[in-house]
Amino acid sequence: MLGMIMNIDINNSLYGVCPKGWRNVASACISGGLLYMLLMFCGLGLFSSNSIAAAADELNCVLCHKYRGLSRIDEKGDFRLFYINQGLFNKGPHKRIQCKDCHTDIDKIPHDPAKDVDCTVQCHLTEPSGEEKFTHKPVAEVLAKSVHGTANMDEEEIEYPEDYPYCTDCHDQPLYRPLSFFKGQAAGVSERGLSRCKTCHQTGDFAEDFYNHVTSRLQKMRVSAEIVNLCAKCHGDGKFQERHGLQGNVVASYWETFHGKAAYFGSDATPDCIDCHVVYGENVHSIAGKDSRTSATHEANVAATCRASECHANAGEQIAGYQVHTDYDDPDKYPMQHYMLKFFKYLMAGVMYFFVTIIFLELLRRLFPNFSFFKPRKEIRQTTISTAGNE
């Protein structure tokens, strides 16, 4: 049983770098499954007093899910890990949500394989501004109407329904992401900021929790390169692009721009996909295709997108003409770039072949400095030398 315990440090398994089967460890943890192990402990309840047990864990799910090796190979052959890192969970946005609020089909312990979580269900949390039960449903509705959803399409139009993203395709491991940074600014709880809250809210961890909750929405959770890698999961796949009639390798062409290179070198002030493809100040879930009039990348809106206050605020309207996703191999679509690059390539090839040939011949000539196929007669040679200065 314990032989299955694997030495996995999930805290350090950075989002996006682990293999596919591992990427979903967090959602796997939450989505539950069969408890083949540790069943006997559950009945005894001997280990239920855990000092860092989640505040909302009334059902004591961590009794079993606190074990790092809690895992199995599922029917599809994927490795599933059901371990919950309580330290991380308690820092996350779902800290006050009970397990059963999302895993609604679990009603006994030990439980059967749980269904996938539906993010649009109502939780038992009341949304304070409207006194209504909280749900992610409005976000899901915005997403459904965007270019990433199928709500605005006829049924015949939907060719590859499995390609459209669900919440967890992007928000796959919010709990296990390292400390985040808003563009250029350190994130986390400001002790000085917090001291103002604590003037009144003195009981328990209330101030910390709500300060975290509110500010986490204002933090940029991922650096630019992470966002690009996230979008690249689908848009970096040539077959995917082809299936949906999208232009070329947009991820590779992004990396070739200054934006991409700065992101590659770790800048978090450089724009990623979202910064240009979401209308400034709008919900990120509402991305529209570039043919849609409301799209940030519609030709009528590009200039406004580039000239957003934090970006190219002083630029002229004409900045819209800059071609971000240039494919240098496509002479029909990008003739200027294609032929300019070709010109420089041929120029360099010409210059270098010429000089490398000369260098090679010079080195060869050094071996036989005075040899010649055509020996000049002595008097001619003399004349040549004596008149050389008068040429």
Partner: protein, 264 residues
């Protein structure tokens, strides 16, 4: 301006004047800026190569390195402007001045003087090139008799002198990308980008390969030709590389009898 003797003797050997102090200083500024620009520029072009990130981090990473690149670029542009002013000054002082003294100042003569300047390619360069190929391909055992500036050196000279006006303004335009789009269409930024990076690659490969072969790697120069520091070239190098000039100077200095043949 300081006068330089055409021939100096050190330890019983003759050395021939080539570059004045001002020219040597210009060259030092040129190569330090170009190397710095290459080191802070190419990691960006080849961002996904394993050496790119450590090299870029060495220059301060994405926050600092671009500023080093821009400031160094400005110094190089200033050098370009200075050099342009420098040769125009010399042209008027030495050549136009002489025409005025000789009362022969006509447009035709000025153009003629311009094309007879030592850096301007001429007919002799073409014949030298043919002589060189004859020698290299074993058709003749006579080396080309280059004058003061050989066609190779003219190529070395015009590589940066045409490269900087292409690279520099394109770099400045990319630096001030916001302001520039108020006057030029956005696609010009795509063009500037290609001009900047691809001309830079051509320049760097040419300089670090061909030019450095000529002055560093080649067997008789290794590890380093010293003329860029001393301003003077040894007699042996003069005979090999500038035989026409060598003969002329020796005659001017009254040393005809001591002229050494090239195939000695």
């Amino acid at each position: 301006m300081q006068r330089y003797p055409k021939i100096v003797r050190r330890n019983g050997k003759r050395y021939f004047f080539r570059f004045s102090l001002v020219q040597r200083m210009q060259h030092i500024i040129l190569f330090t800026t170009v190397i710095t620009l290459a080191l802070t520029g190419f990691p960006l072009r080849y961002y996904n190569q394993p050496w790119a990130k450590p090299l870029y981090e060495f220059f301060g990473g994405i926050d600092i390195a671009p500023w080093i690149h821009r400031i160094t670029g400005l110094i190089l542009l200033a050098l370009f402007l200075f050099h342009t002013g420098y040769w125009i000054y010399l042209f008027f002082k030495n050549r136009v001045g002489r025409l005025i003294r000789e009362k022969a100042l006509t447009v035709g003569n000025v153009i003629k003087e311009f094309f007879s300047m030592e850096m301007i390619p001429n007919k002799k360069d073409f014949y030298d090139l043919i002589d060189m190929f004859k020698y290299l391909l074993f058709f003749s055992s006579r080396r080309p008799h280059y004058d003061r500036i050989s066609w190779k050196e003219k190529f070395d000279y015009f590589a940066p002198y045409w490269g900087i006006p292409i690279l520099g303004p394109a770099g400045v335009a990319l630096w001030f990308r916001d302001e520039i789009t108020q006057y030029v269409p956005g696609i010009a930024l795509n063009a500037f980008y290609i001009m900047h990076t691809d001309e830079a690659l051509l320049a760097a490969i040419f300089l670090f390969f061909v030019h450095w072969y000529n002055v560093h790697y080649s067997p008789e120069k290794f590890p380093m030709a010293t003329v860029f520091l001393t301003g003077y070239l040894s007699e042996e190098e003069m005979i090999h590389e500038h035989y026409d000039e060598y003969e002329r100077i020796m005659k001017e200095e009254g040393l005809e009898l001591e002229i050494i043949s090239q195939n000695h």
